[in-house]
Subunit: 525 residues, 2 copies
Amino acid sequence: MGDQAKIQSAQTTIVRNDAFIQTADDLKPSLFYKGIRPTQIVRVQSDRTAMHDWRAVPEAEIGTLENRAFGKGESVILDFGDHRVGYVSFDIKPVGSPPDAPLKLKLTFGEMPVEMAEPFSSYEGWISSSWLQEETLIVDVLPRQVKLPRRYSFRYLKLEVLDTSRKYQVSFRNITCTTVTSADLSNTLPFNHADPLLQEIDRVSVKTLEDCMQDVFEDGPKRDRRLWLGDLRLQALVNYRTFRNNDLVKRCLYLFASVPDESGRVSANLFIEPHLIADDTYLFDYSLFFTVTLYDYYLETNDEATLNELWPTARRQVELALERLDERGIVKDDDTWWSFIDWHEQLNKQAPSQAVLIYALKRAIPLAKAVGCKQSANFEQRLTVIENATKESLWDAEQGLFVSGDQRQVSWATQIWMALAEVLPKDENKALMLRLLSANPEVGPTTPYMYHHFVEALIVVGCREEAVDRLKQYWGGMLTDGADTFWELYDPQNKNFSPYGSHLINSYCHAWSCTPTYLIRQYEL
Amino acid sequence: MGDQAKIQSAQTTIVRNDAFIQTADDLKPSLFYKGIRPTQIVRVQSDRTAMHDWRAVPEAEIGTLENRAFGKGESVILDFGDHRVGYVSFDIKPVGSPPDAPLKLKLTFGEMPVEMAEPFSSYEGWISSSWLQEETLIVDVLPRQVKLPRRYSFRYLKLEVLDTSRKYQVSFRNITCTTVTSADLSNTLPFNHADPLLQEIDRVSVKTLEDCMQDVFEDGPKRDRRLWLGDLRLQALVNYRTFRNNDLVKRCLYLFASVPDESGRVSANLFIEPHLIADDTYLFDYSLFFTVTLYDYYLETNDEATLNELWPTARRQVELALERLDERGIVKDDDTWWSFIDWHEQLNKQAPSQAVLIYALKRAIPLAKAVGCKQSANFEQRLTVIENATKESLWDAEQGLFVSGDQRQVSWATQIWMALAEVLPKDENKALMLRLLSANPEVGPTTPYMYHHFVEALIVVGCREEAVDRLKQYWGGMLTDGADTFWELYDPQNKNFSPYGSHLINSYCHAWSCTPTYLIRQYEL
């Protein structure tokens, strides 16, 4: 998920469950640290064939850094060899006369070469510029060991001496990034694939998850470090096939369940620091993903105690979603930001949300049966009504596609979610996806998140070859464009796309983009 | 003294005296801390009648601050009621939705309203912009208590929210400056004067010394925190009449004596952090002031043990100065920055330096006698030669003034130092100062440092009324122009004067400007 969902001003009352919070606290993961040194000195050069028109090229061996002295206006860009999430420290040594004025030093961290090239002061997007990773330090006494207290997500670090004095320069030593993750690499399942591109896509997917796995499953370590439900669901699926830290999934489920609102609805995301806070953003699809994530967790772990404790929360999300149905059995649409689905600005959310509800109901029913809840029968009954209503009201027989909203919008998202929800019989479901490919409606996927669902839908309906082709094309495209970890946003037709108004602020290591590993391993692509 | 003396590139070998360093360490002063809150909210407005064309005017009561919330681009200026030197802490509270992006906050500290009004980015002076007191903080987690690690020298603090997010604002609480000084206010001599202006000048002088008295006698707490010999000499004189921390003078003398160069010459200034370092700046007049400061210290304390230990260093400064004499007995001039005297750019240093040597010799001789050093006879002999040479070569009988350098420059500094050195008989010395006043040569005093010597010279020659008038006019002028503490630079004819290329970087609490208290109390003006 992206961050800073559009503003909701409602004052919400949160009902805390302290026992759940305690359970979540007890499941805090161990963190693994590792000291990483930069591998080379680079410069960025303009290149129209490169992502964002900027390419990082080698400038000098890293060993030459210690012997360089930097005066006012001089800078250097260090390449840490791969994407890193961690804490940076270094030593500053004065060169020349004793320093007779403080050192003013600017540090700029970037996941991508563009962040080294385009000044952050040019940023005019609508989300906060405070996400742009930079620091300005004023150091009174030299030599000095600097330990920056904040965590950064980056591959490149620019050190820029804004001022010293006429009498001295500075040199930099022992530059280290102490990386941090809760992913236990020693517990990782080994994986080889005959297709080298799928093997590489899998490797980068795993690295992406590793860098997002912290105290919770984070959204994107550069920018939004919160726990989002939509991302959690996908990270959990990848985690089951890789690091197998199932307790971290359990912890995150308990966190969501511990701070619902008065109606029992779980928030779309949580703040972990300074203490657990439910954000005042509630999304129809994300709330339902609590139920889906619990279903996936139970399927993976068979952990009945957790299922029993969290079932009331899971059931409540479905009940609340059902309350949104109109007399026909179709979720009410409105103009607010009530459901996420994807970042596409023109996307109507009604039909895909309807499909998410069906998808969730089909997982809530077996859970209800597993815990012996009487709701199962009711849910089954409602499911029939809803599926019929969907085919009645949202199906356009002429086009052979589902439509959404007053304007009867035909979007990729609607067909994809309807296919995943398996509203149509198997053959028709496959025909739906093939028709989507040939019709190619204008409102397409804008994120790896939507693309994941697209590829999975192709697999579900039986179009495995097409699924593999599309996966290799999309995530392989990111690799060709220089991804060290997979990106929050990637539109091959518009590579500078950002829902925030600037590609500078996009996240280039984003949880919802790490799913190829799940798709490849789970479906044995 | 100002900072960042012009560059000398000579590699100097320092001969450390560890026993002296130990003595100095043992004399480290106690520091006194006090929590100070801001007194009002102000704004700065353009005003052609105000210093630097900017005036701070009340905007709101300080009590209203807690209830104000600040979003992107909003700022507030706090007035701490008087000049402060210390450490700033405050609490930041989020207002609105949970903070979904870091806070980017800029803090600007200013001794004068102009520092709140003109952006530091406009600074283009030749000394380092890193002295301009500002910080940019990026805060990931709110609420947060901020304790800034650096010490600031200021009266005004501007808090400026560069960015939050659309979902929250911030408010500020418990803003405190923990002031620091080694001046023991409880040990201060009480002082009252019938003239309210002299009383006020005395009060502000004492405050200036208080804010400059730290671990050593600092030059100016905003910018140059080093220990400079020229400033030490004057601070010691004021200290004897006020805080009476004679051990701090002793500590500073031992510090200078512990790191001379191979020839025994003491540096013009010392760095105290990260450890004691002699700066590679050596000045003819400043080195001699070691001897003068030891003389004043001995006169005040009668501390024979210190005199005996430090006499060799004091004697050596005189010997080295004598080595600079030409065959006539006149100090050699050159084009380097070999002697300080004053900041005036056209000032020739030869004749005033000659006078400083005579002034120092006249104090070295009684010290030599006090320790029973055989040099006293030699020094007396040399003094006669030098005084005669001065009257022979530097006296312009036609003008009745002393001249300096190849161009036979007539400056204020030359006459003032010749008067202080008492080269002429008493009557002629007075006539010299009166002639200076009427001739009013173009190369005048540019600093309170030079102005101090001007007023003291008037007193020494017996022009007490003129001295008092000039003192009230000059330091009283600073008060009228808004001084909370006395300034490094003040030229009533050119109030924006800065030897550094910008009045933004001038120091507005400067040790060498605190001398009125000494002049008023010592000479009972």
